[in-house]
């Protein structure tokens, strides 16, 4: 604890000072003023001591460099499962990993926290965060498609048994060039070798319900709007709720299609669901724009960071 820090704290309690001054001014008698003055001084000393106590915790973080704030996704997220399998080799994450329940929350946190690192889908990279290259390869659609960028995963739709009727047509549309154009637009990686959607003579009618992953929701929602334009008589509802909710809903028959950002888990494997890959998602490692320590990481470094073996940015910028 340096004196400098203490002074910094005192500086920050100006509100208490203002309050204290108003208190003293309120009192007319000279004698009382002295006593109150003493009282306030002692209160202030207590405050400073309290601040010292607080900063004691802060001190341990170390003065040089910045300790890394690890941001990741929640344990049920498909992104995390993929990251855990592919990058971590199923080793445990560091216990200091902070869990967020969406890509948006990860991006928001990293945009605000100078020393944070996290992983999000390609669509979430904007000027508020800095994307790192992995093994000197930039994360973008071309590199993922070419197989050069190492971290990408599939997004799925599930149907109960083989898809039929409107569900089949919808998935076909999604996997067609028209559908994949929207996938690209939303910042995801399109499938390869796709064909044009074959508009059959008669338009579809009735209802189609889709539910599940919030990651897949935006694409599906946009594709649904386009599909509705082709089939004005068809009523499509797309709900979120998460991959688990979507999979259980489709296996129970309450919806026609379940969206998922993860593959089926062992407890879901005997539900009689058929898997359709509808897009890919490139996973980008992002840091705060003010981070000057790194621009590139190797997969091994990334693993070490997320395992908690590298905890300070200065250890990376040699």
């Amino acid at each position: 604890m340096t004196i400098y820090n203490t002074i910094e704290y005192v500086d920050k309690v100006y509100i208490s000072f203002i309050l204290a001054i108003t208190l003293v001014i309120q009192i007319n008698q000279q004698k009382e003023k002295q006593k109150i003055g003493m009282l306030l001084i002692s209160l202030l000393v207590i405050f400073i001591l309290g601040a010292t106590l607080f900063s004691g915790c802060v001190q341990q973080q170390g003065q040089q460099g910045q300790s890394i704030v690890l941001i990741g996704r929640d344990s049920t997220s498909g992104t995390r499962e993929f990251f855990w399998t592919f990058v971590m080799g199923k080793a445990n994450f560091s216990a200091s990993l902070l869990e967020k329940n969406s890509n948006g929350a990860v991006q928001q946190t990293i945009a605000q926290t100078p020393s944070a690192i996290g992983y999000v889908g390609l669509g979430y990279v904007d000027s508020t965060v800095k994307a790192l290259t992995i093994n000197n390869i930039t994360a973008n659609v071309q590199n993922v498609l070419a197989g050069a960028y190492p971290i990408s995963r599939d997004l799925y739709m599930f149907t109960k048994g083989n898809s039929t009727g409107a569900a089949k047509e919808f998935i076909l549309f999604m996997q067609s060039i028209e559908g994949q154009a929207i996938v690209t637009q939303e910042g995801f990686v399109p499938l390869q070798n796709t064909v044009h959607y074959n508009v059959s003579g008669k338009t579809l009618s009735g209802t189609l319900t889709v539910s599940g992953s919030t990651t897949v929701l935006p694409i599906t929602d946009k594709v649904a709007t386009a599909f509705k334009a082709l089939n004005p008589g068809l009523m499509i509802t797309v709900t979120g709720g998460g991959s688990g909710a979507g999979i259980s809903a489709v296996s129970q028959g309450t919806v026609d299609i379940g969206m998922s950002s993860r593959d089926l888990q062992s407890s879901e494997s005997n539900l009689g669901l058929v898997k359709h890959v509808i897009a890919k998602d490139g996973i980008v490692i992002i840091v705060n724009p003010s981070n000057n320590y790194v621009n590139n990481l190797s997969l091994a470094q990334l693993k070490a960071i997320y395992k908690g073996e590298i905890t300070n940015w200065k250890d990376l910028s040699k």
């Binding site: 915790c57 890394i68 926290t113 509802t237 998460g242 129970q252 888990q265």
Partner: protein, 647 residues
């Protein structure tokens, strides 16, 4: 002749009798609905939590030190999550208790009527801010402030959660504590002033001690509210993997993972029927049990208070005065020792001695200051608390308004979203929210009014009313995320309603039912007994009296309750998250279809649609205006109602 006259009379009587009986049964059924609901929630949570207790055992589940359901091997230890929940709540209370009790004293004892009429609704408005809006404010403003001010790597900490929860608990504690302080008999106060005590002496030595049990109950209710809060805590506490307990345990700058946050984060993606799914229901059950205990405690304390007020006769105390004093002394000594021990361990010997000396010095200085100055000091401190509360409110409102006002336009309110809500308006979300609250109120209002009428008009105070009231109180304290889980397990999966408007409406109706029961009962209490007696004297039956004489003057009060319910239903995210909501340009045409809603629209924009910042802020502002507008109408109605209530 005699027969001819009697027969029609008898038939009228029978008809009337049947109607009376029928109404009584209907009202009884609505009265016990609260209990049925709370029991079905417990049963359904237990049903889905049981497999995990069976598979890994209740002991290991409760005492396990790590929560890592997807690790190898999966670990289901709820202990750190329970501790984290308690720690965040503890921190929140350290912030909320002084501020709310200060505010309560200010509103009831110090403020002039003119100031009171502004301050009281302002504090109540704080209750009207939806928790998802609090979450956004916390995520963007509060965590950044903590990170910079205290120079910590991340602001998403225990402290952030505690500050936010503290602010959110303030209106609950303030309003109940203020009721308790206001209901201290006038004679106490007058007697104290008459023997020459100053106003501050009267407040600190007479009024606050007499209102102590009410204040305690207020604090406990505040604790219940803080424990059950989901969206805000989920956004600002950081949620470390495995939910580790802070090291050392006093480190308020450590990220922390609470029970509610774990549920809010993991529930959506988890595979139904997996161990993880059952474990989450286990967590919900633990959460429910904690809040039930807290709320039962509050009910018991408030009940004892009422009994005390009713019986003026003094019972002989169970423990003698001397013995009680000794217990008190030992208790204070114990607490003091613990505090000193904690200080000693965390900061070392010298600062501890320093702090103790200072406290002693301050104590003696305070005693030497004249009564008048003491009062000035105390009143300034109390005024400071209310100012701090108003500043909190001001900062939050200013933040949302300045950010959101740019997005606001006529088109924003009247058109549907385009490009996934990045542009265009939020019309479907507004309509969806209206559908949801309309349905919820259509279900909850008859049930709640029926229950209140039964409780107040048909039964004497006794074991049945006690059970029903406790049921309603428990339902009131049930965390919103628990309603969400129940709705998912019962309506969506068990009844196979799917994600639907109906499921959302019923879930929300259950949540606002206790508010309506309570406010209706208050309104009924205000109708003088003489009106009922007059009606009976004219030969009206019980139901006729209720229908024609009791309900009409109580209507504004009931309306206030309904509006408060609407306000709460409109702002809640957690109960509809897993039961009803859809994100898109979609207006439902049947109750079996899903629905869009403002809080969910905001939540989705912020979490899943990159590049939609402008419309996020706009949606938050519209949601805030809607909810606050509803509360404002309720407050105006209440004031109008109170003015008119001069019989």
């Amino acid at each position: 002749m005699v027969m001819k006259i009697r027969l029609p009379q008898k038939s009228i009587l029978t008809k009337k009798f049947i109607k009376e009986k029928g109404m009584k049964i209907i009202l009884f059924l609505s009265a016990i609905s609260a209990i049925i609901i709370i029991f079905s929630i417990i049963i359904f949570l237990f049903r889905d939590a049981y497999p995990i207790f069976q598979r890994i055992g209740l002991g290991p589940f409760l005492t396990g030190m790590r929560w890592n359901p997807v690790g190898q091997p999966p670990l289901y230890g709820a202990f750190p999550l329970i501790i984290a929940t308690l720690l965040v709540t503890l921190g929140a209370m350290v912030i909320a208790i002084p501020l709310s009790i200060g505010s309560a004293i200010f509103i009831s004892e110090i403020a002039t009527p003119r100031v009171k009429i502004i301050i009281k609704p302002a504090v109540e408005l704080l209750a009207g801010i939806p928790s998802v809006v609090f979450g956004f404010f916390g995520l963007i403003v509060l965590t950044t402030w903590i990170r910079i001010s205290f120079n910590v790597p991340t602001g998403e900490t225990w402290l952030a959660g505690s500050i936010l929860l503290g602010i959110m608990a303030i209106p609950t504690i303030t309003s109940v504590a203020e009721d308790a302080i206001s209901s201290v008999p006038r004679e106490y106060k007058e007697g104290s002033l008459a023997v020459g005590a100053s106003r501050w002496q009267t407040i600190s030595k007479i009024i606050v001690p007499s209102a102590m049990s009410g204040i305690t109950a207020a604090i406990i209710l505040g604790i219940g509210r803080a424990i059950g809060e989901t969206m805000a805590v989920m956004m600002v506490c950081g949620n470390p993997a495995y939910g580790l307990i802070p090291q050392p345990i006093t480190n308020v700058f450590a990220p922390i993972k609470t029970l509610t946050a774990t549920l809010g984060i993991e529930m959506g993606e988890v595979a139904t029927g997996s161990n993880h799914y059952y474990a989450l229901f286990g967590l919900a059950l633990i959460l429910l049990i904690i809040t039930l205990i807290v709320n039962i405690l509050a009910t018991v304390i408030l009940g004892r208070l009422k009994e005390k007020q009713r019986k003026s006769k003094k019972k002989k105390p169970v423990i003698s005065y001397e013995f009680g004093r000794k217990i008190k002394q030992t208790f204070y000594l114990l607490i003091g020792t613990i505090v000193i021990a904690i200080l000693f361990i965390t900061v070392g010997l010298l600062p501890t001695i320093g702090i103790i000396t200072l406290i002693v010095v301050i104590y003696y200085l305070l005693r030497k200051i004249s009564v008048k100055v003491q009062q000035r000091l105390a009143f300034s401190a109390i005024t400071a608390t209310i100012i701090i509360v108003i500043i909190f409110l001001g900062i939050i409102l200013a933040y949302i308004v300045t950010n959101g006002v740019g997005a606001l336009s006529w088109d924003f309110i009247t058109t549907g979203p385009t490009n996934l809500g990045r542009s265009g308006g939020i019309f479907p979300a507004i309509i969806g929210t209206l559908y949801l609250v309309a349905g919820a109120i259509a279900i909850a209002l008859p049930l709640g009014v029926g229950a209140a009428v039964y409780l107040h008009e048909y039964t004497k105070e006794g074991i049945i009313t006690k059970i029903i009231r406790t049921g309603a109180d428990l339902l009131n304290g049930t965390p919103s995320i628990v309603f969400g889980l129940f709705g998912f397990a019962f309506f969506v999966l068990y009844l196979k309603l799917g994600f639907s408007l109906l499921a959302g409406q019923i879930t929300l109706a259950f949540m606002i039912l206790p508010t309506i029961i309570r406010t209706t009962e208050e309104a009924l209490k205000c109708v003088p007994q003489s009106l009922r007696e007059g009606s009976y004297a004219l030969g009206a039956s019980k139901w006729q009296t209720i229908q024609k004489v009791v309900l009409p003057p109580a209507a504004p009060g009931i309306l206030t309750g309904a509006i408060l319910g609407i306000g709460r239903a409109a702002g809640e995210t957690a109960p509809i998250l897993f039961t009803a909501v859809v994100f898109s340009d979609f207006i439902s045409s049947s109750v079996l279809q899903p629905v869009n809603a403002l809080p969910y629209h905001l939540f989705t924009l912020a979490t899943s649609i990159p590049g939609s910042q402008q419309n996020q802020a706009g949606t938050a502002l519209v949601l805030l205006l809607l909810v606050i507008g509803i509360y404002f109408i309720a407050i105006l109605l209440r004031n109008q109602f109170r003015k008119k209530m001069k019989w």
